[in-house]
């Protein structure tokens, strides 16, 4: 199981989708799970409409596949109660607002139920790997440490047993890793480093390589003045075009430098291998873009010596 985490806005959902796509192309059955009820995951596979509690096939290819589903706390709770012979109670719990009282009194119970269900999926599903698109950074920490927190608050009962099993899964590096995503910008890098250390310390979970998203691809020939080059090549440029070309080139160079600085900072602060994803100069990520990203991930992985994360 791979848990994909990161601050809001870094492209976590896109990266989760790209990882799933990469796995599927390698012949694996991948289950992609989203826990906040947000849309977006399905769209990157070209699938209209939101994901649901039942698995939806998002892509199938050469023996591999990506299936996607949501797993929100309310759904997980209802299923848990049904499985434990408390179906009638589940409706009352929700309509009377008692679940809010219980969830407040036992912090993390909603997250535990989601993680418990993910654990059950890991055990029962025929998927080769589960990719979990986690909540945004701060919440990811509380989400993942909910099991530990719960063990303090609840001494007995099935919920405690559930929490113990979840802790077992999260701390087993062979079964579960957290993959952190960032942009090559100062604040996201700071937050990734903080989150990384917090997860290792408080949750005891093992960290996969980090993904740096949105890197401007290197483009040669940008450090020469357009007017000079045009004169040399005897190409005629329209009025103002040389200036425009130079401005655009300067912008790219500047941003690339900034990004390289941040990539280096990240490497120094958190010595984990880095997987690098290119900025695609688009606002939408669809199946074509997803393939480009999956290629980039695979290429980046191949460069890491030793056994790579699944």
């Amino acid at each position: 199981m791979l848990i994909v985490a990161g601050t809001g806005g870094v492209g976590k959902t896109t990266v989760s989708a790209a990882i799933a796509r990469m796995g599927a192309r390698a012949g694996l059955k991948v289950l992609l799970v989203e826990v906040e009820g947000k849309s977006g995951l399905a769209g990157s596979f070209g699938h209209a409409g939101p994901l649901s509690y039942r698995e939806t096939v998002l892509s199938e290819d050469r023996g591999g596949s990506v299936r996607g589903r949501t797993l929100t706390p309310d759904d997980a709770l209802v299923e848990y109660l049904e499985q434990h012979g408390m179906k009638r109670i589940s409706r009352r719990l929700i309509s009377s607002g008692a679940i809010e009282v219980v969830a407040t009194a036992v912090p993390g119970i909603k997250d535990i139920l989601v993680l418990g269900k993910v654990k059950a999926l890991e055990r029962d599903s025929d998927a080769d790997v589960i990719v979990l698109d986690a909540p945004a950074a701060g919440h990811a920490i509380t989400f993942l440490s909910s099991a530990n927190g719960l063990l303090d608050a609840v001494r007995v009962g099935p919920i405690r047993a559930q929490a113990e099993e979840v802790v077992g899964l999260l701390s087993d590096a062979a079964r579960c890793q957290v993959l952190l995503v960032t942009l090559p910008e100062e604040t996201p890098v700071n937050e990734l480093v903080e989150t990384g250390f917090a997860l290792e310390d408080r949750v005891g979970v093992s960290l996969a390589p980090v993904v740096v998203n949105g890197l401007y691809p290197a483009l040669g020939g940008l450090d020469v003045g357009a007017a000079t080059v045009a004169a040399d090549a005897e190409v005629h440029l329209r009025p103002g075009e040389a200036e425009t070309l130079d401005e655009a080139a300067a912008f790219r160079r500047t941003r690339q430098e900034l990004q390289s600085e941040q990539v280096a900072r990240l490497a120094e602060a958190l010595p984990l291998p880095q997987l690098r994803l290119p900025f695609l100069f688009t606002t939408d990520v669809g199946p074509a873009e997803l393939d480009v990203l999956a290629d980039a991930l695979a290429a980046s992985l191949a460069e890491i010596p030793g056994p790579a994360a699944r």
Binding site: A105, A136, V156, I159, A226
Partner: protein
């Protein structure tokens, strides 16, 4: 009305939008600009990045605004919301006796509310807003001309409006309130089925949890009315004409979809969107008459020279700018006639007052176009 007019005329600006789009930076920049215009502005932040927090003097965590010195004729104050302290202060204010307040503050269920009950952070942000709005300054004048509120990153657009209702619903929880009654009434009022239900809950999460909940509701007895009235006054403040709502977004498809959703919910609720800020815009290079496609074919024709690379680069930026414009137009149309400000990528992270000044300049510049 332009963004500048919004900032100079409003008494409250609420910045809403999904997480990761630059809401906190926008809120702080608007407050800086107001201070420059000579107003006494206070910004309420929720979860600022560490360096920005340092620049605004927020590391002291007092839950009271601190003054930020700078080159402006007005005043800039900043506070980082401490949800728990704000809730504690409310409880202390509305309790009948100090002993009642003590009992609640010590209760385990209460201690978890400020973290666990969804919507509490939003509610306390609005509560803080109310408190600051009521604060008196010199003489009888209000302490602040303008309060800018950052909202927590949330899935639901109207969490900050719904939050008071959700909290009062929680406190009114009928099932548990029955347990607060004297035992004979309780035995009559609570059916066998309900008792069985509670026993099951106790079996699943432990009896202590149910006991904590009962103790909490018992200590809370009598205070819900005070909270409810307060929540009502907060809602009235939000609905006031002098309260302005600014939607913050970035031009990616997913964030635009969330922003459209926010805009629709705000419009439906009769609150509306008074301004739109779109951050992280790529610059538009060259003439509007050009196109990415044209640049790309130039690049191909010229591939054997370095010009090919230069044109390919230009094509890349034109391409992303074209997509961003489409999304911006869609958002602008949805919130029309609200003014729109576009904030470009800056050369560096915004983590100090100079950076905020640059963002503020971009926000105001749009007003003139």
């Amino acid at each position: 009305m332009s963004i500048r007019e919004l900032v100079s005329g409003a008494s409250i600006v609420v910045c809403c939008g999904s997480g990761g789009v630059g809401k906190t930076t926008t809120a702080a920049a608007l407050a800086v600009e107001a201070a420059r215009l000579g107003r006494r502005a206070c910004v309420v932040t929720i979860d600022p990045a560490k360096r920005l927090a340092d620049a605004l003097g927020l590391e002291s965590l007092t839950n009271m605004p601190g003054r930020v010195e700078g080159p402006w004729s007005g005043e800039l104050w900043a506070v980082m919301l401490d949800t728990k302290s704000t809730f504690d202060a409310l409880v202390t204010q509305y309790a009948d006796t100090p002993a009642q307040a003590e009992r609640i503050l010590a209760n385990r269920l209460y201690r978890n509310i400020s973290g666990a009950l969804s919507g509490t952070q939003e509610y306390m942000a609005m509560e803080k807003l109310f408190e600051l709005h009521q604060a008196a300054g010199v003489g009888d004048a209000p302490a602040y001309d303008l309060i800018v509120v950052d909202t927590p990153p949330t899935r639901n657009a109207l969490d900050f409006i719904d939050a008071p209702r959700r909290l009062t619903k929680f406190l009114d929880n009928r099932l548990f309130r029955l347990l607060v009654m004297p035992s004979r009434t309780y035995l009559r009022a609570v059916s066998v089925a309900t008792q069985a239900f509670l026993r099951t809950v106790a079996r699943v999460v432990g009896a202590e949890v149910v006991d904590d909940a009962v103790a909490f509701f018992q200590s809370f007895e009598g205070m819900e009315q005070g909270f409810r009235e307060r929540a009502q006054r907060v809602l009235e403040l939000l609905a006031d004409d002098a309260t302005v709502f600014v939607l913050v977004a970035s031009p990616r498809r997913d964030t635009v979809e969330e922003a459209l959703y926010f805009a629709d919910r705000l419009i439906e609720a009769g609150i509306g969107v008074d301004g739109l800020v779109v951050n992280r815009m790529h610059p538009r290079f060259g003439a509007v008459t050009g196109s990415a496609a044209a640049d790309r074919s130039r690049a191909e024709t010229l591939a054997s020279t370095p010009l090919g690379g230069l044109f390919a680069n230009l094509a890349d930026f034109r391409q992303v700018a074209e997509h961003e414009e489409e999304h911006l137009a869609e958002l602008a149309e949805r919130v029309a006639p609200a003014p729109v400000a576009r904030v470009p990528f800056l050369d560096h992270d915004v983590h100090d007052l100079d950076g905020l000044g640059e963002v503020a300049a971009a926000l105001m510049a749009a007003a003139d176009s």
